[in-house]
């Protein structure tokens, strides 16, 4: 896998997580208090920095084969879950991820709560809402950076790709101060699910001792094959529109 492919894979995956975190922070800031929301962001980033400082050097010490086995297994489970949701959404069996709707729900929930000052934080609810959102989505960013980066022994490049994704999404969020509805999030999640699944399959099998025909070049077959298979599954699931409509209503 080349450095360019690593950068693109990490950038896309982290951009999706950053869009979700930005929606929560914007809701916390707009409905409650910008100061509290930004304090929550700072607190979560501090915790994430500690996690990276603790795990980063440890991960780079693990032998490559063992690392590929564990990381491949995690990426494959993660990727298949993403792909499963993306296929259900694309085929109409699950409601599309809608940042506007999530933003409205977060705003309604946030407006209904009493304001309470704790220490330097003027509004504790706004702080915790923002803190949890950034921490949970940030943990996924850390996971993606460490797994992709450590497997290629390019954690630095993976971290730069993640930082670029977060910076671009955060800048867009600050500029428009509303949910990032124009980001093609559902399509991006589909692509990321394909990449996580393909790389997880490749690294998992290598870590388990298998040798791919053509070594790294087999990824050039694996990625499009996973994409084609996912599209076939979307087409097959779309053949039952009545069940799909019922499923969306229930979800």
């Amino acid at each position: 896998m080349g450095s360019g492919a690593l950068f693109v894979a990490v950038f896309l995956a982290c951009a999706v997580e950053a869009v979700e975190a930005t929606t929560i922070v914007l809701a916390a800031g707009a409905a409650r208090s910008w100061r509290s929301a930004m304090s929550g962001v700072a607190g979560a980033l501090a915790v994430l920095a500690l996690v990276v400082a603790a795990l980063g050097p440890a991960v780079s010490e693990v032998p490559l084969r063992g690392l590929r086995l564990v990381v491949g297994a995690l990426l494959l489970v993660f990727g298949l879950q993403w792909l499963r949701k993306a296929i259900l959404r694309a085929s109409g069996h699950k409601a599309l991820h809608d940042e506007d709707k999530i933003f409205a729900e977060q705003m309604a929930a946030a407006r209904g709560r009493q304001s309470r000052r704790i220490g330097l934080v003027p509004d504790w609810y706004g702080f915790t809402l923002s803190f949890k959102g950034v921490l949970l989505e940030g943990l996924e960013v850390v996971f993606i950076v460490l797994t992709f980066g450590s497997n290629q022994r390019e954690v630095g490049l993976a971290a730069i790709a993640a930082a670029c994704a977060v910076a671009v999404v955060a800048a867009a969020g600050v500029a428009i101060r509303s949910p990032l509805r124009r980001v093609p999030e559902n399509a991006m999640k589909f692509v990321v699910g394909i990449m996580l699944t393909a790389f997880g399959t490749f690294w998992g099998a290598e870590g388990a001792g298998a040798r791919w025909p053509g070594s790294d070049t087999s990824l050039l077959v694996l990625v499009p094959a996973v994409a084609a298979f996912a599209l076939v599954l979307v087409a097959l699931l779309r053949e039952n529109p009545v069940a799909a409509a019922e499923a969306v209503e229930r979800s």
Binding site: V77, L80, R84, L88, A208, A210, W212, A230, L237
Partner: protein, 71 residues
């Protein structure tokens, strides 16, 4: 305290395993079989892709039958 431990475990279960435990179990079985075949010097690279061909449709069928994919 027990509630916090349960909550912590539930968070990591949700983070790693997600909506369908069948996928996690299937991946572990696929990796174990790949490991086993590789140890006896049998070509095993095809096993995980075949697992994927079985697991993903099965998990989607279960989700469609239930009416929602969760999360």
């Amino acid at each position: 305290m027990a509630g916090r431990i349960r909550g912590f475990a539930a968070f990591w279960y949700d983070f790693v395993v997600g909506d369908d435990w069948l996928i996690a179990v299937g991946v572990l079985v696929g990796l174990a079989l790949t490991c086993g075949l590789s140890r006896i010097a049998f070509p095993a690279w095809w096993l995980l892709p075949v697992s994927l061909l079985l697991l993903l449709p099965l998990s989607l069928w279960r989700a469609a039958r239930r009416g929602s994919g969760g999360g």
